[in-house]
Amino acid sequence: MATFQLELVSPEKLLLSRQVEMAVIPAAEGEMGVLPGHAPMIVTLRGGVIQVTENGQVTDRLFVGGGFAEVTPERCTVLADEATPVAELSRAEAETRIREAEASYAAAAGESPERQDAAMERLLSARAMLQAAQAA
């Protein structure tokens, strides 16, 4: 089956770079499946799980905390704020993160809408992390 190059990079390092058949990425406006020959796109990501398919099977599941993705017909580059394999997620950490995010969201209540949005996004990302940790 046809493949394309999937690259997953975080600021600290290149996490993944290989030929895959399909990747499902958590775009800001809904999950997005990327197959070879996808129309060129630039999307923002929310917190969620990237699912990698090779040879008709899901081979990798990685949690990303948000970021961007650039899709071209022969390549898909994901710039993640942070990325961890789902199997390595810890539920306790996700829960502390939710608490922190809730606190910062409450603190941002009186501030500018941008700040509130940013806090909200952090909270959603933390919740997605917990969900992914529970599913694993």
């Binding site: 690259e7 060129p40 796109m41 710039l79």
Partner: protein, 293 residues
């Protein structure tokens, strides 16, 4: 002529200095390797970020609603210099170089009648700049005691810069740091952060550019991408600074070790000569004493 005992003492003290500088050189070499690989690992992200920014920026830069992080405030009056130095010394001219570079820059800008503000990152630069420009310093950040510089550290610096921009505290932001060219050369460099210099990718790639679809709209993506880009630039500067620091320290310690070796040789020669002179003198005394009898 110094006594034999004093010479012996000096030889010993220089020997122990050499041991210390040698050990520091080894440590710096090991840390340099780690810092270098960290800097290399951060490169792919920065490259891809630049590519994305190039295609996005080109389509938004012309519009009047372009975010200030991209195009600045449109004025050129207040300059913010972010000066990155190391937290420690004993690294040869590493910190002084950045300091001098920043000083010249500040003087030049002030001569043009601009207002200059300085945000200092790193302890060594802060103490130097505070002495020279106590009025211009608006803040200092230090990562003293951190084992490893993470992306979050760079993000806090970037947030500080963004907050200052939103408060209208400056018009142009420039980052000054030591670029890591090789282990023996670090070049003090100024890099403009705001307004963001658009990489000239669109000019270089002559082929038909792929037209991207954006989801959500370009402006919204840019609004999240630009702060990120700022953080990445700062992160890169911090890493290069770190790698450069260890390179410079290794070099300085290598020189110090060599100098100590030379000094030991000289002192030993001196010591032996003095010893021989003493023996000769004693012999003469004995002989002339015996003749007199």
């Amino acid at each position: 002529m110094p006594s034999l005992k004093a010479l012996r003492g000096r030889i010993n003290s220089v020997k122990s200095t050499r041991k210390i500088t040698q050990a520091m050189k080894m440590v710096a070499a090991a840390k340099l390797r780690r810092a270098q690989s960290q800097a290399e690992q951060a490169r792919p992200y920065a490259e891809r970020m630049a590519r994305m920014l190039a295609s996005l920026g080109a389509s938004v830069a012309g519009s009047p609603s372009a975010p200030p992080l991209l195009v600045g405030t449109g004025r050129d009056q207040v300059h913010l210099l972010v000066v990155v130095t190391a937290d420690r010394g004993l690294a040869g001219p590493f910190n002084t170089n950045v300091g001098r570079f920043a000083r010249n820059r500040i003087r030049a800008l002030e001569a043009e009648g601009k207002t200059v503000k300085v945000l200092s990152v790193g302890r060594k630069g802060a103490s130097y700049l505070k002495r020279e420009f106590p009025r211009q310093i608006v803040g200092e950040i230090s990562f003293m005691g951190k084992k490893r510089i993470g992306f979050e550290d760079a993000a806090t610096v970037a947030e500080r810069i963004t907050a200052m921009l939103e408060a209208g505290e400056f018009d142009v932001c420039t980052l000054i740091y030591n670029r890591f060219q090789s282990v023996i050369t670090q070049v003090a460099t100024a890099q403009r952060l705001i307004p963001a210099p658009l990489p000239e990718a669109e000019a270089a790639s002559t082929g038909p550019q792929a037209l991207y679809e954006y989801e959500p709209a370009e402006e919204e993506i840019l609004a999240t991408l630009l702060p990120r880009n700022l953080a990445i630039q700062v992160y890169r500067a911090l890493l290069e600074n770190n790698a450069g620091f260890y390179g410079s320290q290794m070099n300085a310690m290598d020189n110090a070790t060599r100098n100590a070796g030379e000094m030991i040789n000289k002192l030993t020669l001196n010591y032996n000569r003095t010893r021989q002179a003493n023996i000769t003198k004693e012999l003469i005394e004995i002989i002339s004493g015996a003749e007199a009898v």
